[in-house]
Amino acid sequence: MGLAGGSVAGRGPAAGGRVSGGGTRADARLGGLLLVPALVAFGALFCYPALLTVVLSFRPEGAESGWTLASYAAFLGDPDARRVILLTFGLALAATLASVLLSVPLALVLRRRLPGHRFFRTVVLVPLVVPGLIGALGLLIFWGPRGWFNLALTQAVPILTRPLNVDYTIPGLVLFYVWLYFPYTCVTTLAAVESLDPAIEEAAQVAGAGPWRCLRHVLLPLASPGILAGSVLTFMAAFGAFSVPLVAGGDHRPLAVEIYKQIVVPIPPHWSAASAIAVVMATVQVAFLAVYLRLGRRRGGSR
């Protein structure tokens, strides 16, 4: 297509062109030229579709023109819809809190660099590189009625005659979210604690602070920007989760799944309703993104 042709043509002469010297204007012009393929792709594959979604959200359902807020009103006014929003927020919040509770001790342990720590650091990264679908599948099997968890539980606690229901429940979903998204928090927390000058902790120790007080007064306050940034990432990921709740959510449908269901279940598809939900969701995500970037900038400047 035109896109592919344009970018290939742009590669040869332009990329081999002036590297050093030349005025700023020439450089900027070359830079602008070279950005065209990226901008075209960005525009056509992201901006325009996003715009389309926004426009669709203001169309009456099934119509080709016209403007209305009916989809938004329907969505925000519907008690079911409010439950969906609450569910999405709740899951994300619970998962984030649990991730922080898991990540902080984990980071402190990994920091000690016990033998084998490289292996464990890699393990922490596994949920990040594996597609969410696969993670969801494995979690469903493992925590399901015939999975190892319930097997171990029923064998260890003989009074339990029936397996514990984890799959398709809300606590189960939170657990799955934590499995998938805690690495964001853990990695940034670990980076934060490892970037601390060890002499500072030593100074606290010599001054009389035992390990617990060192943690409370020195380590955690200094690492908190990193912990916070990581938890915002986890929250964003959990809020936007799609493939996992799609497969493992059962009757519980957070926002992303709700959008999909509006397209797939009703015939004809409810494009407007789905778009309205999408716009709401994207707005929340962008807001959190802004928070994350603000945190990042403040972290960089304060040292």
Partner: protein
């Protein structure tokens, strides 16, 4: 007395180490056990009821996946789409990367953040628009169409990796080539490209893996001719045959684990986080 104090201190330290390892091992089980179960489920026969391991091992699920589940066709689709996505993304990555890495542009950071936006917003939100657009352009259920949808999330990675590579090119090597008499074209071919090759390969691997794993956008732009592995696996979940699904899942997870193994040995993998959102 002194010896007792010493011994107590030693025991305390050892207890803390034991606790640390307990946490680490529990974490490893928590994370890796689901994969173990998938793998075993994919080769187990008659594994229902209360058993730790499947009573019999078999490859029939894989055979079923190949014969009835159409896996070769699915893999073919996945690879074709992935290849196209890589090609387009690399082209975009090289041009944009050159602009970011070597040209003086105003507002570079802002521009870069903008181009990375598709990674930060859940794909489902703009996938709707992509789906509508592709319906109108008759791109649904075409390899090119799905590949283009993938480019939205793959190109940013290519841009990130390649602009870093290009920025790392030593200006003086390029000058030396000019002084030796090489014009822009030959300099690109004989000096720039070979120097960039590791970066291009890395970018290609990343991009391919992301396309291979891509689910959300594919779900909204695929058709019967362009079923990819993630979509096929998802459909298998709907069918309810855990064993088949597990076999497909095993096939699906291989590139990701390979990448992990490679990456963790070379760079500090922690740098991957920060511009990264799960599917």
């Amino acid at each position: 007395m002194r010896e007792a104090a010493r011994a107590y201190g030693q025991a305390f330290r050892e207890a803390r180490t034991l606790l640390a390892y307990t946490l680490l091992v529990s974490l490893t089980l928590f994370i890796l056990a689901p994969f173990a179960m998938i793998a075993l489920r994919s080769v187990g026969r008659g594994w229902f009821g209360k058993r730790w391991l499947p009573p019999e091992l078999t490859l029939e699920w894989y055979r079923w996946a190949v014969e009835v589940g159409n896996i070769p066709e699915v893999l073919k689709n996945t690879v074709i789409i992935g290849g196209l996505a890589v090609l387009i993304s690399t082209a975009i990555g090289l041009t944009a990367g050159w602009a970011f890495g070597r040209c003086r542009l105003p507002g570079k950071e802002l521009l870069m953040a903008l181009l990375l936006l598709p990674l930060m917003i859940p794909p489902i939100t703009y996938a709707l628009g992509v789906a509508r657009l592709f319906y109108a352009l008759h791109l649904v259920d075409t390899h090119v169409g799905v590949a283009l949808a993938h480019v939205a999330v793959c190109a940013p990675y290519a841009i990130m990796v390649l602009s870093a590579s290009i920025e790392g090119l030593d200006e003086r090597v390029l000058e030396a080539a000019s002084v030796c008499g090489a014009g822009p074209g030959r300099r690109f071919l004989h000096v720039v490209l070979p120097l960039l090759l590791p970066g291009i390969v890395a970018s290609a691997i990343f991009t391919f893996t992301h396309s291979y794993n891509e689910f959300t956008l594919t779900l909204l732009t695929y058709g019967p001719h362009t079923v990819t592995l993630p979509v096929r696996t998802y459909l298998a979940v709907g069918d309810g045959y855990w064993e088949i699904t597990s076999a497909m899942a095993v096939l699906m997870v291989i590139p990701s684990l390979l990448i992990l193994a490679v990456v963790q040995r070379r760079a500090r993998p922690e740098r991957l986080v920060g511009g990264f959102k799960g599917a």
